[in-house]
Point group: none
Chain length 357, copies 2
């Protein structure tokens, strides 16, 4: 059997059981494209990820790959890899971008300015109204509304964007060919038609509580800021807000009555530094005050990327780079990967990085 | 005529027209006690305050002084000067402490730990409940509740403290022998009996809008922190909060629905750095650095009327309620009436309904 190449290699890398995101990033950092991983051979792969190399190379993903390739041949269904220019640039900024994402709908929406709007599944009627109204206003101003297709606030946020004829993206925790919850099936179909549904999970992945926090990091990752509309103090929305903060995104929260349990999560966020917002304009003011970053993590001018300066013109190991840059290994690897994909650096044997001028 | 001495000299200093607080402080800084000002003679006084010296020394305050001395001889009526040990130590920390204050009631309360509780005169029913409940809890923990005897939040704060058999101080903007507004006369008498009424204005001073901001600085000055319960964005409560901040006092604010105009002032404060509080414990924690044993009363009624859920915690109009509940207007109105009679909801101007917890 010849080693998989191109998209098939990306799928093999991401479908192999036991090979998580971190392992994938290690391999990509060491070998560059997946093609090189599979042509490098077992012992080279072992030198990077130890015994997991066997899990990866013993795995026979032929059937799953065929299914995925077939899925991606249907109209408006796409599989984007880290190496694709259509891959959302905003996700390259987060420490753990998925190696591939499955997209139903218009992948161009993933490149525009976006705001996450999330909140409780058991929202109050006023909370639903707020989610819908804020989203409608923001979408009307050209912002894509990103949410999680859950019942309650999420669904109201998507609906608000659609009501404004605006863009909306649903990031889901199941396979892109599965809709959960079933009650949002119709909404999901509309989003697939007029917006986009995004999943990093293999096709067919069922709903599983463990996957939702991972999904939440993508909601935040795709967004310049995240608005929490209503949330209990222990809730997935607060996880999304925390991840957004860690990713350097703005966090916004709508306050409410101190007697409303679903205002408490928002109040907690505000106490932790989230911006209290009363209107969609409060959000726009905050986000427009920022530099109009059109999500360009890899500047055309190589000299603009600070990591290239840090790297200098000599080969340098990862540990040394961690020390020089002050970045965590994860976010450093993700930066390095995007520089590599842009052809700005090369990875040498022994995991050393070399600037390419 | 021999120069006034002792309390009479303090009264002469503070009653002379045209001699404001700043001028008084200049003289006290230059001469020490007022006795020394009046025995120093015109040219010495001129060297400190220029032509204002004539205003001060030409003034014949005999009648006013006699009235004040007579007032202060009555039981539970006191005039405290900056030189008195009973003068509130907290006021000595502010940049512009009044030279004398008139006190009806127990001046010892001015020395204990105190929290200011202020807010709108046109408070919502829930706002009044919040003011009363927070004040009751704080007073029950030994904190003196300081407010301004105004209608609305102020009166509710005083009442809450009294309900806990706690201490409360009303700082007023009229002479200590005048009560404004008249509707709070009975409350004022109770405060004079069981707490204290404080004014820096000469006896007989009528209500005058210009005096209230000065009054507000004393509410903040007497307090370790100030809680704003409900306030419009342009309001005296925000002045009190600003002065509190300038005096180095903590500022606390209760958030509310983004659709309630009286939550906006609180939200503005929170955005400016005030602490968002949901319970009296939040305040105590901040001021004590530790949580006290008792908890703020937040009722938890298991057998809740379903319409209360439908209503949520934001004000809501009838049409919206018809839509949310699916009930006919007639049966909805009868349900609403019984909830109102049971004290569970309040009717706001514009026929909007607000849940009361």
């Amino acid at each position: 059997m010849s080693p998989p190449r191109g998209l098939a290699a990306w799928l093999h890398l991401t479908l192999a059981p036991g090979i998580g995101g971190e392992t994938q990033r290690k391999l990509l950092a060491a070998f560059g494209l997946p093609d090189h991983i599979f042509s490098a051979g077992l012992s080279a792969v072992r030198s990077v990820i130890g015994n997991k190399a066997d899990l990866l190379l013993d795995f026979d993903p032929a059937e799953n790959i065929a299914q995925a390739l077939n899925w991606a041949e249907q109209p408006d269904q796409h599989i984007l890899t880290l190496a694709d220019t259509a891959y959302p640039a905003s996700l390259l900024e987060i420490p753990d971008p998925p190696s591939v994402i499955y997209v139903r709908g218009n992948p161009a929406l993933l490149q525009g300015p976006a705001i996450g709007v999330v909140g409780s599944r058991n929202a109050t009627p006023q909370g639903l109204r707020n989610a819908e109204q804020f989203s409608r206003t923001l979408a009307g101003q050209g912002w894509c509304i990103v949410s999680g297709l859950a019942l309650g606030i999420d669904a109201a946020a998507h609906r608000g964007a659609l009501a404004a004829d605006g863009a909306t993206v649903a990031v889901i925790g199941t396979g892109a060919n599965r809709i959960y919850p079933a009650r949002n099936r119709e909404l999901a179909l509309t989003i697939a038609e007029r917006g986009a549904i995004v999943s990093e999970f293999p096709l067919g992945t069922p709903a599983n509580a463990a996957n939702f926090p991972r999904r939440n990091r993508l909601i935040a990752g795709l967004s310049r800021g995240v608005l929490v509309v209503e949330a209990a103090t222990e809730s997935g929305s607060l996880i999304t807000a925390r991840l957004a903060g860690e990713q350097g995104r703005e966090v916004f929260a709508i306050p409410g009555s101190i007697h409303s349990p679903l205002a408490r999560g928002c109040h907690k966020l505000i106490r932790q530094g989230a911006k209290l917002v009363e209107t969609a304009d409060d959000i726009l003011e905050e986000l427009n005050g920022q530099a109009p970053a059109r999500h360009a993590p890899i500047p055309d001018d190589a000299n603009e990327h600070p990591l290239l300066d840090t790297l200098g013109h000599d080969p340098c190991g990862l540990d040394e780079l961690v020390e020089r840059s002050g970045l965590g290994a994860d976010s450093l690897l993700s930066e390095l990967l995007s520089l590599e994909l842009a052809g700005k650096i090369a990875v040498l044997p022994g995991n050393r990085y070399q600037r390419v001028d």
